[in-house]
């Protein structure tokens, strides 16, 4: 067993860090303040390979492992949490199309998506189907040689600025088994976008409601077979949860680094903050939490890569632990900055705002506990070790 990064992972991480420092971090505050979706930067990220990290190579992806991707996302998130989070959603959606699309759909969309020339959104949540995602009401009715989609999706990242939507819609009975997944051109007639939501964080990506009014797609737009949609959505989310956890720890790492530097610099009562044991303990706890969270994410990623039977449970544990820890570390780092942490001159409050939503999306941390508890209490099965 080896906990060290391999040669490739070190090189990927170095490059991602360099990109984050030069292309993300200097603009992150402005993107947040002015709510700018940095398309040009995303395209640059695409040229460097960040838009198709784990999509397969035959459609222009790099075919990297989820573990490799999590290491890269963590580095990127140190520069801009919100932009990196969008990149992870794009990677997840691109992977879903590459993995479950038929050959035409894959070749129509994936080469441009993996190159970062076009962008994708993931559409699962509805106004009345959040945590209870399997109760979704959007329908895809079979009509001649295609499907007609009707319904609405909310909280869609990138909506209005992306080119393709991965949409979960009902094609059959109530419940999870009646759901299918579709690849939908974002500009099709009948699709309309709601106003841009005003959010606490994640401001460098637009979030909108999408309404589908008799949107016609060809039968080939389906991912997998009819009724596979919910399974596909959940498979996407296993990786999505690792990605979001990685965004949390990258952000927490940036916050921790700044808090540490501040403690060494700032003096009160005649000595630097680093001399106060109350704050020393704080920084020790933050560091320990961060390292623990990082190991959880990497273990879950590696189990997802290995196809471990309990991968979903490990992804859920890692997501819940890392996003809670990431938020707490950002909060404590802000506290160390005192009043300076609360003003926008410093990035501390942005770290906190951006990390907050990670405890809600890709399945709330309460739903994560549900997944974990269901498995932990399962009878007549192997123990979780």
């Amino acid at each position: 067993m080896d906990f060290e990064l391999n040669e490739d992972q070190i090189a990927f991480a170095d490059m991602a860090r360099s990109f984050a420092q030069k292309e993300l971090e200097p603009h992150a505050a402005m993107w947040d303040e002015e709510q700018i979706f940095p398309v040009d930067t995303l395209k640059k990220a695409g040229e460097l390979g960040f838009c198709g990290l784990y999509a397969s190579e035959d459609v222009g992806g790099l075919g990297l492992s989820r573990l490799d991707a999590s290491i890269i996302f963590e580095e990127l998130a140190m520069g801009c949490t919100s932009t990196t989070a969008y990149i992870t959603i794009h990677n997840m959606s691109t992977w879903m199309i590459a993995e479950f699309g038929n050959s035409d759909t894959r070749m129509d969309w994936c080469p441009k998506l993996t190159a970062g020339e076009q962008f994708a959104s993931y559409c699962l949540t509805e106004p009345n189907a959040g945590s209870d995602a399997a109760s979704l009401k959007t329908t895809a009715r079979r009509d001649g040689d295609g499907y007609v989609i009707n319904g609405s999706k909310i909280f869609i990242s990138g909506a209005g600025s992306t080119d393709v939507l991965v949409v979960m819609a009902r094609t059959g009975e109530a419940g999870a088994k009646g759901i299918s997944a579709f690849v939908v051109d974002a500009k099709l007639p009948g699709i309309s976008y709601g106003r841009k939501e005003q959010k606490m964080g994640w401001n460098s990506q637009p979030t909108r409601m999408i309404t589908f009014d008799d949107v016609r797609v060809p039968a080939s737009a389906i991912l997998g077979a009819e009724g596979d949609g919910f399974k596909i959505a959940m498979k996407g989310l296993d990786g999505g949860r690792i990605n979001i956890g990685a965004c949390s720890i990258g952000t927490a790492q940036a916050a921790l680094q700044r808090a540490r530097d501040y403690m060494l610099d700032r003096s009160q009562f005649g000595k630097t903050l680093s001399n106060f044991q109350a704050l020393q303990f704080k920084i020790a706890d933050m560091t320990t939490q961060l390292v623990a969270a990082r190991q959880m994410i990497r273990m879950a990623a590696s189990r997802l890569d290995a196809g471990h039977p309990d991968r979903t449970v490990y992804c859920a544990m890692a997501k819940q632990f890392a996003t809670d820890a990431g938020y707490n570390i950002a909060d404590e780092a802000l506290q160390i900055f005192g009043g300076n942490g609360y003003i926008k001159e410093y990035p501390m409050e942005r770290y906190l705002r951006d990390n907050r939503v990670h405890r809600i999306l890709e399945g709330t941390n309460e739903i994560m506990r549900l997944i974990i508890a269901r498995r932990a209490l399962m009878q007549d099965c192997a123990k979780i070790l």
């Binding site: 040669e7 090189a11 990927f12 360099s18 460097l48 960040f50 990290l53």
Partner: protein, 249 residues
């Protein structure tokens, strides 16, 4: 035309350097190591010359233990075609490095040598110059612009008084200054491809080089702490201090 580019593994420029307690050297334990930034600029310039059709092959050379392969792979991810690592232990002085590079060139016959003007660890700024002397070829140091045409290199150099442009026949040695170019990011697929590019390992014995070890590192000291400044109340007082205390006018 073949380009030979030397790269050095050095302490990362972002790292705050610590001196070992016994003053024997800088402490490299647990520190991040990277390609010397001037060497990175040299690689980038070679890649641009290749993209412009001037250079046909880029050979990157590094001298050190196995760990310097990391920086050679990085250079290959930027666009170098293959690598030659010369195995050597410990600290090498500039003359030994130049002699090794000259020996490597006996089998490479490069048409242009691009090196960083100096490495940010020991700041010697002499390897390129020594290499030019050993090879008996022209040199242009501190390059901020390089143009190659008709077997000649026109190089704009950064000097104390501004810029000076020289023209020289090839083969020649060019050392890079900070403003020559801004190195690209190594794209992830190129990082992956770089692993498959050829990297030959040679020993000093293979090359028939014996180290002179003519420079001995005696002691490394932390720079003196800066003492706080003072405010003067008049121009006359300022001039007096500059003349009599700082002795700069």
């Amino acid at each position: 035309m073949k380009a030979l580019v030397a790269v050095k593994r050095v302490i990362d420029y972002n790292v705050k350097v610590r001196v070992k307690a016994d003053n024997s050297d800088v402490d490299l334990a647990n520190t991040k190591m990277s390609i010397n930034p001037f060497c990175e600029i040299a690689v980038e310039e070679a890649v641009r010359l290749k993209e412009a059709g001037v250079v046909s092959e880029i050979v990157v050379v590094s001298i050190g233990d196995k760990s310097c392969q990391e920086q050679m792979r990085y250079a290959m991810a930027l666009g170098a075609d293959r690598g030659v690592q010369v195995e050597a232990e410990g600290k090498l002085n500039s003359l030994d490095v130049a002699r090794i590079l000259a020996k490597v060139n006996e089998s490479e016959n490069a048409g242009i040598f691009i090196l960083g003007k100096q490495a940010i660890d020991s700041d010697n700024n002499q390897t390129g110059q020594m290499l030019a002397a050993l090879l008996d070829v022209p040199q242009a140091t501190f390059a901020s612009e390089v143009k190659i045409a008709d077997g000649k290199a026109q190089v704009t150099r950064e000097v104390d008084g501004g810029l000076v442009t020289v023209e020289m026949d090839l083969p020649a040695v060019i050392t890079t200054d900070l403003r020559l170019n801004e190195p690209r990011f190594a794209a992830l697929p190129k990082i992956m491809q770089a692993k498959r590019k050829p990297l030959d390992v040679k020993t000093l014995a293979d090359l028939g080089v014996e180290l002179t070890n003519s420079v001995e590192l005696i002691s490394v000291e932390t720079p003196a702490e800066r003492s706080g400044g003072i405010k003067v109340d008049s121009v006359d007082a300022l001039i007096d201090k500059l003349r009599n205390e700082a002795q700069v006018i």
